[in-house]
């Protein structure tokens, strides 16, 4: 049972990172290769701020800084390139990833950094007779909060309605009087802000390094594609399924565990080419 919870933790972590990609792809139709770089930058910003002002301030500043970065990204990269072929934007984001990695390497150096969990989350609780870290439960709580927050925002607010409409047909939505450029800036900001949030929660889980985004972004893309590219619900389900099978694979079939996410994606796309919750044609 504890292993199921461990799978849930990894799935939750993947979801928080992947849903930012889903948001950006949904509105801008951009495969943002720099997302792993934003995740990494978020981890470093949070670490740097937390060293002086504590973990929670670090988290807030990281999310805000990355969201601000997202606004600039949308204004000066995505918007000017929106009329270009998708491959152009993809390559630009790929280049941006390297720029971010080198910038972080210059500022913080190449050496690994390890971050302790905040005092309030440093302990453990007993679950099914086993000691389980509170911090890991916090990761699940963050994912649930993000999922609920996004669902409420998208389903119950006017802006959420615009976002959903723009995801389906940005041209018609614009013709109805919605400022899709401002909407895009907002959505990209939320997407990169979520990358900052996932970077922050990754701090006490894994070693910080300029190339840390590369270790997680493949699983993240697998989640997005399996979920159906633009579907928030799909990404949530895919993240939990992939996290769970990946973890159980490590326990029962460790030899093939690393290919399990890819196998799940292949099976899902074989049965439903539009992904778990994709709209299809």
């Amino acid at each position: 049972m504890i292993q199921i919870i461990n799978g849930l933790v990894y799935g939750s972590f993947l979801y928080v990172l992947a849903v930012g990609l889903v948001l950006i792809f949904g509105l801008r139709r951009v495969t943002n290769f720099a997302h792993g770089g934003f995740f990494m930058l978020g981890a470093y910003v949070s670490y740097a701020v937390a060293a002086y002002l504590g973990f929670w301030t670090g988290m807030v500043v990281s999310v805000a800084a990355l969201a601000a970065f997202g606004v600039l990204l949308d204004r000066f990269v995505f918007r000017p390139l929106s009329s270009e072929e998708p491959i152009v934007t993809l390559l630009v984001t790929f280049g941006l990833l390297f720029v971010l990695e080198d910038a972080v390497r210059t500022i913080w150096g190449k050496n690994y950094i390890s971050v302790a969990a905040p005092e309030a989350l440093a302990g453990s609780v007993t679950i099914f007779g086993s000691q389980f870290p509170v911090y890991r439960l916090f990761v699940i709580a963050v994912a649930v909060t993000v999922a609920l927050g996004l669902a409420i925002w998208l389903r119950s607010t006017r802006v959420g309605l615009y976002v959903r409409a723009s995801s389906v047909d940005p041209v018609t939505t614009g013709m109805q009087g919605v400022d899709t450029d401002r909407l895009s800036a907002l959505v990209v900001a939320i997407g990169t802000g979520l990358a900052g949030l996932s970077g922050t929660i990754a701090g006490p889980l894994m070693a910080l390094s300029p190339s840390m985004g590369g270790y997680i972004i493949i699983d993240c893309f697998i989640v997005v594609v399996t979920g159906g590219l633009t579907s928030f619900t799909g990404a949530f389900v895919a993240a939990l399924v992939i996290g769970q099978f990946h973890n159980l694979g490590l326990v029962y079939v460790p030899e093939v565990a690393s290919v399990i996410p890819l196998l799940i994606m292949a099976v899902v796309l074989g049965l439903r080419p539009q992904g778990l919750a994709g709209a299809g044609k």
């Binding site: 504890i2 292993q3 461990n6 933790v9 990894y10 972590f13 190449k110 050496n111 690994y112 950094i113 390890s114 971050v115 302790a116 969990a117 440093a122 453990s124 086993s130 000691q131 389980f132 870290p133 911090y135 890991r136 006490p204 889980l205 894994m206 070693a207 390094s209 300029p210 190339s211 840390m212 590369g214 270790y215 997680i216 699983d219 973890n247 159980l248 490590l250 326990v251 460790p254 565990a257 690393s258």
Partner: protein, 398 residues
Amino acid sequence: MIDSKRATILGLSAVVVSATLATSAWAQKEPLKIGVPTALTGTYSQLGDEAKRAVEFAVNEANAAGGVDGRKVEVRFLDTEAKPELARQQAEKLALDGYKIMTATIASGEVLAIGPMLNRWDAMFVATINKANDITGKQCQRRLFRVNRPDNSDAAVVQPWLATRSEAKWAIVAADIAWGRNSGESFSKAAAATGKTIVSENYPPFGSNDYAAHIQKVLDSGAQGVWIALAGRDAITFARQAKQFGLFDKVTTGGVSFTTDGTVKVLGDVVKGIHTIINYSSTLDTPGNKKLVADWAKAYPGDAPTNFQGETYLGMQVIFQAVKKAGSVKPADVAKAMSGGTFETILGTQVMRKEDNQLVGPNYFGTVEAVSGTLQPVVKMTVPAQAATPAPDGSCKL
């Protein structure tokens, strides 16, 4: 006053003349070109950085002393990301550009990918960090040498330590790469030889993000001790997560390349009290090591060479002495001079065994403890060179 001026002019002239002579001597002889295909990014980037610094230190030191065999030493680094295929490609580039004497690669798999190509490239390689037994075992090559302690040497150190332990049940967590598998197998053999039982074996993928499944398996197995063979980013990520699960508080923990000088610096109290194989320590009391530590502190104030830096520096010493002995920088000549040669190293006089091209040196075991307020691996047991370097098992056919 005039005398003082004259003395100054004479002194400056002497410096200029010496520098000119040195430069002109360097100009007459082919430079010694060292190629370093190493992990400058990725999971082992910190290890690669450490190795790079040690190579640069040794090269600067040699050039400041007039070069090696009157030759200027030049070095070029290329990033391998610790990936065997990329390492082979980068090593080939270096060899084609004339950097045919190579060293300081991080992962064993990289060396095993480079080794078979050395004759074709007319190159040679000196392993300084790589532990897989096969490097000087069944995949040995005439132009492939190793100066660091192989896995079977680590096993020779672990066994006497394990014999002193009361824990009967042990678990293994090792990286799913050549070195990790080797280390796991060696620990299993040492456990069998000392009457211990292995109750859980875990080989997580290289570069994993989440070790919770493996940590939980160890906890559920009833193991009283765990042996860890993870390095670099993997070691740090595992240690942080294991601490959160209380693993280090519940079971005795030991490892290899897990609590190195570098990882201890990053992890601090998380790894206090963990037992570890120590292949090199800046605290070792030998004249050569004391000199290295003193010179290193002059070059990098407040810093001491780490285990990987000490091992890499030792490798550079062996290369320089072999070049001097060969009077040549041709890999074939240097390899010939290196095989069976005797070398003065920071750890004393050591012999490069001609049967398998393995340098015979001592090995150490210790614990992570505070020394003058700073945590570091502290040597508790020294195994002399002959005992620490098991005799060739016959699998190497040179």
